[in-house]
Amino acid sequence: MRKTKLIAAVAGAIAVATAASACGSSSSGAVNSSTSSFNAGMTTVVNPSSHPGGVLRMAMASDWDSIDPGNTYYGFSWDFIRLYGRSLVTWKQAPGTAGLQLVPDLATDTGQVSPDGLTWTFHLRDGATYQDGSVVTAADVKYAVERSNWGQDTLVNGPGYFKNIVQDKTNYRGPYLDKNPADGVSGIEVDGTDTIKFHLTRKFSDFPELAALPSTIPVPRAKDTGANYYKSVVSSSQYEVSSYVPGKQAVLVPNPNFKSSSDPDGIHKVTADKITVQLDLNQDQLDQELLHGQLDVDLGGTGVGTTAQSQILANPALKSQADDGYTNALTFMTINTQVKPFDNIDCRRAVEFAVDKTTVQSALGGSIGGGDIASTLLTPNMSGYEQSNRYPTPGNQGDPQQAKAELATCQKAEPGQFTGGGMLNVKLSARLDRPKEVNSAVAIQAALALANINVEIEKYPSDKYFSAFAGNDAFVKSNKIGLSMMKWLADWPDVFGDLDQVITPDGIHPGGGSTNLGDYSSPKVQQLFGQYLGTNDAATRARVGAQIDQQAMDDAAIVPLTYNKALEYHPANVANWYMQPAFGMPDFSMLGVSGS
């Protein structure tokens, strides 16, 4: 899960309180010369323009975890960061399934893998420079990967995928604890100024996806100030960060030393003279400014709030400027395989059959803005997604009879866990400051009651949900939390990027902070992941990806609830607007303003 916005919860509560007063007539939202239509951004680039100039005014209801490419884990950040940093590869700037392809950016191709599958080689583009005009070298990319993955003593936020699979014979402690520039990760080999090779400990066919992470955005060692690097990020892309004040504002201006010759595919084109990002706005206020043309883009990437959503849906002119796309996030409920009686698969299957997904969907906000009813772990945007439903129920409304039958089987094996009347008492955790999540927990409670499962809802604050409560093994076991509400946003849109941290031991952290809330691990799944990462054949990967999904569903470790969607609005003057499917949000890397 790339962290979603904590502040949105508070802002949302205030938005609800103010909804009554704030929702006057919205007919003043000027929409005249638009050629857009509802969901046009799902299939086409709306209002395409290469017309340079103007100020692109962005805002969001939260702030970055960090703008340092080696220290950020927010989805919008990975999307936006391409404006001031070039990773080796990136996601294609195209809507629909084309957008799920990787294309080279700083590298000349998406990576050459050795026949044994253990070495990946990238060559850097000629003429790639930093904002000070100096040349980007392969050593800088190596350093960037080292600092972000091995230097987590200082850069605590970012992902550490490279560290898990790249060879490291010297047990490197990272550039901040080991200040000798001669030391480094032995498995990352630099050849000349423009070739970099990664030697892996095992086959890893998702390596191009790793190369698309901000971890590979080059950082010159001489300019690195560790945790303070965010104050002076050195740009390698078309814009540079001219100022960033946490909690207030970020300003980007074109990087004069950017050479378009180093970007033959035209990924980085300056379309605005300046990009401003206001931070920590109230979501409701932000939405209104967006609808009234005082802002151009909501950088949060999680869609408009409920007030604006109803305004947009009620007004065809506004609706034609909106897109309701999948966010690549899944809302689901985990069933803890280590908490009795859910170590018994029949008890888990009973829960799978008992849940009424239609009531949960309403609780989460309905189809638009909420999501579509889910029956798989992979969401429809992802490669490997295959429609299937292991626990079909009439109209998705749950099947209490089938659930009771499963429960009866379970009761025979685990009679001690049931009350005299054959009732099962379980606890369901949810985040108390997320009203939609709590409401969906209540819906589940009602559905499970029909199947003789008595649910007690335990609510915990979202900021400690993983570290201290639902993701803390000791807490879960001592409090017998059998069920947990969960929402997960894929790191990248395939089975590994989505599910590695959710259904494998990689997501289990005994000291707290687990994201595999069900403590689920299956040798079969592990074996399938090995198979998945061991082949570079796209068709095989897609097939195995679907198998992993279905295996986890067969084991009834997770109850998928909805494939999340977000309603994104774009004012008519915003150019090059479309929904990037790999990020599950608008592509922020090429937006501009037109017709100023």
Binding site: T154, D463, A468
Partner: protein, 331 residues
């Protein structure tokens, strides 16, 4: 008088120490009592993959595993003497008053507070002037024309003002004025825009206070107009207008100014609801966002600054009282 102020200031320092102790206890110690461990506290600061190095580093930086009194002692020493932090790359000397170091943004807390303070001060001063002027004015009119239409209307509005929270009034004003631009502009960069952009937040914040002040002023004026010394002034032949403002208002205003000082002190500590409603990047919004992000050092800093404003406002008010009312003797 001077010794009095010095003594009050010393007492204020003691009070602020107690405030630091309590806030420190709430943020750093209460969670441990509630069953959290240094590791689980640190887990909230680390990316989702929970790198052990990162966890260890966070524990070290915050000193979560140090004895509690040592953590608190370090904190207080930092305030009076400064202290040194490591951000992993270099040592950062944080000069006194060192209110800690935010490992969220890798900034010292004190400069962060100073950068946010102008917004809150702008809000407080502008709104304060508005609510004082309009509150007192309508209160006086109501009292003098007690029972008149003007009295009933303004007291009706005042009742509404007391009852309606700023997060209702704010969006209402925005809707009425048609998407007023409320982005903060520093006073020094453009005073006109500063005032223009802040005017709606000022009105929104001042409305409730003005209502309260109108009611207090009205009650105070009605009391004052029944005072013997007002009758004396009339018996001397002093003109009615002068009786009102020189004799009645002067004594009715004293408690109002006292409360004004306290209210202003509280608003200076962060007009949280207003700043959230209008997304004004002041101390209140900083506090809210820092709480959301578990940025304890900043939260503690804002809390202390707010306490400081209130304590200082108390002293100022007491001294002011002594200056205005010759019967009050400071000792």
């Amino acid at each position: 008088m001077l010794t009095y102020i010095v003594r009050r200031l010393l007492a204020a320092v003691g009070l602020l120490l107690v405030v630091t102790l309590i806030t420190f206890w709430i943020f750093y110690i209460l969670p441990l009592w509630a069953g959290q461990t240094p590791q689980s506290l640190a887990a909230a600061y680390v990316g989702k993959q929970q790198d052990p190095l990162a966890l260890r580093a966070v524990v070290d930086r915050f000193g979560f595993d140090k004895p509690l009194f040592a953590q608190y002692f370090d904190y207080v020493i930092g305030i009076v003497h400064g202290r040194t932090y490591s951000d992993g790359v270099s040592l950062i000397h944080c000069n006194a008053p060192c209110f800690g170091y935010s490992f969220k943004n890798y900034e010292q807390v004190w400069p962060t507070l100073l950068s946010r303070a102008p917004v809150t001060v702008s809000i407080a001063l502008g709104a304060g002037v508005l609510w004082l002027v309009f509150g007192v004015l309508s209160g006086v009119i109501s009292a003098v024309r007690k029972g008149s239409i003007a009295d009933r209307v303004s007291m009706g509005i005042a009742l509404a003002g007391v009852a309606l929270p700023v997060y209702f009034v704010g969006p209402l004003l925005e809707a009425l004025t048609g998407r007023w631009n409320t982005t903060y502009v520093p006073f020094l960069s453009n005073p006109f825009q500063w005032a223009q952009h802040l005017s709606i937040p000022w009105v929104a914040l001042a409305f409730g206070y003005a209502a309260l002040y109108a009611r207090m002023t009205r009650a105070g004026m009605l009391d004052a107009l029944n005072e013997d010394f007002v009758r004396t002034a009339r018996a001397k032949g002093v003109r009615e207008r002068k009786v009102l403002y020189r004799h009645a208002l002067r004594s009715a205003l004293t408690p109002i100014i006292t409360i004004f000082g306290m209210d202003l002190g509280a608003v200076l500590g962060g007009a949280v609801l207003l700043e959230v409603t209008f997304s004004l990047p002041g101390l209140g919004l900083l506090a809210i966002n820092s709480i959301q992000q578990d940025d304890f050092p900043v939260v503690m800093g804002v809390t202390l600054l707010a306490a400081f404003f209130i304590v200082v406002a108390n002293i100022v008010v007491d001294v002011f009282y002594a200056v205005v009312d010759p019967r009050v003797r400071l000792a």
